[in-house]
């Protein structure tokens, strides 16, 4: 099963993933259309910044078992049997907040999706796009390889269980690669150093 794999050390914080996520989950699916809809579409992936100035794209991991699915008292949250994606049936959702309480990654938000109706929002791994043979919008938007769409097993095979658990957390390698952003990484490390010296 392919899933979105996050490599935070490659993220440059451009927020394109959340932008394209919101567009792809809008009714018009176009940028100009999406920003002028009466109920604005919302992103399901967010990029945070750590105190060390490292970017951290955060989205639903589609955990197995999924704490949100277990906590859902209306069974609005379910796992798609075929793809393994954890989905929300918005018409069953009553916004009780149980899933936000259960989610260890803080990815659930509550937003209106039609007039007068709110529902829990979270990543659906672009199941509609996948049905059309496309990769998830956030991965398509990511220009730096911080978001990948690949077989979990393929990556897990490469190393130990420890690595697997790191992937579960969205972290694959702890040491930032110098790569194309060597100067940026160096600059951020410098900032970090100054911060440490001051505190």
């Amino acid at each position: 099963m392919k899933t979105v794999i996050v490599k935070p050390e490659r993220c440059v914080g451009c927020h394109q993933c959340s932008f394209e996520c919101a567009v792809t989950h809008s009714s018009s699916k176009t940028r100009m259309g999406a920003i002028s809809e009466a109920i604005l579409s919302k992103p399901r992936i967010r990029v945070y910044l750590s105190s060390g100035k490292e970017n951290f794209p955060n989205k639903c991991r589609h955990c197995e078992p999924a704490p949100c699915e277990m906590a859902c008292i209306t069974k609005a949250i379910y796992r798609d049997a075929k793809s393994g994606i954890v989905l929300i049936n918005r018409d069953r959702c009553i916004n009780c907040g149980m899933c936000a309480m259960a989610c260890p990654f803080a990815v659930v938000r509550y937003y209106p999706y039609v007039r007068n109706r709110e529902s829990a929002h979270k990543c659906d791994q672009c199941i509609d796009r996948q049905a059309e043979g496309k990769i998830p919008a956030c991965v398509a938007a990511c220009k730096v390889g911080a978001l990948l769409f690949d077989e979990v097993n393929k990556i897990m095979d490469k190393d130990t269980e420890k690595l697997a658990s790191l992937i579960y957390m969205g972290i694959r390698e702890r040491v930032p690669e110098p790569g194309n952003f060597a100067s940026l990484v160096a600059y951020k490390q410098k900032l970090n150093e100054i911060r440490r010296r001051q505190s």
């Binding site: 394209e20 100009m32 999406a34 992103p43």
Partner: protein, 624 residues
Amino acid sequence: MSEFSDLTICKDAQIMLKKAQEEGIQTAWDRLKKQEPQCGYCELGVSCRICAMGPCRIDPFGEGPQLGVCGADADIIVARNLARMVGAGSASHSDHGRDLVLVLREIGLDKTSNYKIADAAKLMLIAKEYGINTDKISEGETARQLAEAMMEDYGMKKGILSFISRVPKQRIDVWKKVNVIPRGIDWEISEMLHRTHMGVDNDYVSILLQAVRSSLADGYGGSMIGTELSDIIFGTPQPGFSEVNLGVLKEDQVNILVHGHSPIVSEMICIAVEDGDMLALAKSKGATGINLAGLCCTGNELMMRKKIPMAGNHLMTELTIVTGAVEAIIVDYQCIMPSLGQIAQCYHTKMYTTSDKAKFKFMEHVEFTPQNAREQAFKIVREAVENFSRRDKKRVSIPCTPVRSMTGFSVEAIVAALGGTLTPLIEAIKAGKIKGAAGVVGCNNPKIKHDYGHVELIKGLIANDILVLTTGCVNVAAGKAGLQVPEAKELAGPGLKEICGALGIPPVLHVGSCVDNSRILVIACALANALGVDIDKLPLAAAAPEWYSEKAVTIAFYAMASGIYTVLGVMPPIGGSTKVVELATSGLNNVFGACFAVEPDPVAACTLITSHIALKRKDLGLGV
């Protein structure tokens, strides 16, 4: 081939794209694909890189930040970004114009033997417009005085641009009301940059009004000076025939291309290729001759005046190298893709930069000055001829035969074709034979199917009896589609067909390069003055179906501010501010009597323009 027919309507481009793919050459289309999806914040104009408290961006979906670090909201950020685009476009045209002023001054001071006055009559006319008493002074002195008067247009001594005198009084009153009469070309552009510095102008309307003012400094300043001086120095264009498309390249000749915008360099190359010694050298290398062709707007300049054929427009520039038949490309500035040098490395093609302002990787720099221009031109042409023997004949592919195209419709030429006055045109408009006129201008943009936007829109317009004036990259599109020959009248509506038949002109007139949009302004002003009405009352429209450049935004701005309804085929980066979008697409109407529309579909754009022209005709009491 079908995959390429989604990218371009041009057969020659499709064949070359296939060749490029086979030879592993990346083109703008490939690079666009790699960029996609492009930055959504930037596309909506809500990202700001103006200061180092940033970069900032506004979240258009409401979850993230709604203010930049400085506190600017989406409206301010969008307005600032757009205004800076206008400023940059204005700067580009005007700096091009400045180079011509400098050449004119050198001529006047007799400091160059390479450049001369080609149209002395026009020099006298323009000098008079500038209030120079030409009676007792020499041609050279007139040139010097005119050049120096124009330098003041760039500066801050005068406080108003000289060519504003060409504008109808009603229009000037409109501009006075909102305080957008341009004072000095460089003044408005640098004030534009000043106002968009953090913490200066933070009222989006005020920012955009300054954008209007700096665009007018281009249209009635930098660009107009550029056009008029090009005519004075190199000759006012007269109608004549030339050819377009990649077929203008000759398999058995040395092919030299000029690319860029200014005629200063290309005119010199034009002299060098006609030199007998060069021809002899070419023959000694096994070529039957030296073939010069143009690309982009410098090509338009040469085509207008010297009837030199054009190989292609903006998106064709990379593909010309792919033919494998080009010995040298000489570039000056603007719209030269940095990829060209890299692509030329894959062939024997040599590339030369000529301006200190525009240097590129993988291109040899040969600085042109008014003093050394001839010498340098000969040096380059000689190297190009010598390069002929390095051509790999197996890789040469010239995909088609050229299409005939009529060119040279300067304002003077149009007036002459009409028999000396604009009256026949006005009568034809009044009688409804010509419903109106539209300027179809602008660039190519790989986001729009290459040339499709231009050609479809033009076909629709002429079928509706609307006379079309084209500049810039549109010329090549229209020329290749066979729309710029007198026979194209068959595609026009009955009224336009009759007029074109009577005058022996095409329904689509090649009026020049992109600075020559000023010619369209001159005609519009003259028409309005002749009718005694403001420009916004006239049945006119403008369109930029495939625009990409900052210059195009500036052109759109000065067209709109002159009272001409302007339809854009590509959305400018303003979507992130509802207020700016509303202002641009309707609010401006209340101020300038014209506004913008965005319509990527040329068929729909044609409907927008025809209904706009019908409305204007109705308001003038003319039959629809």
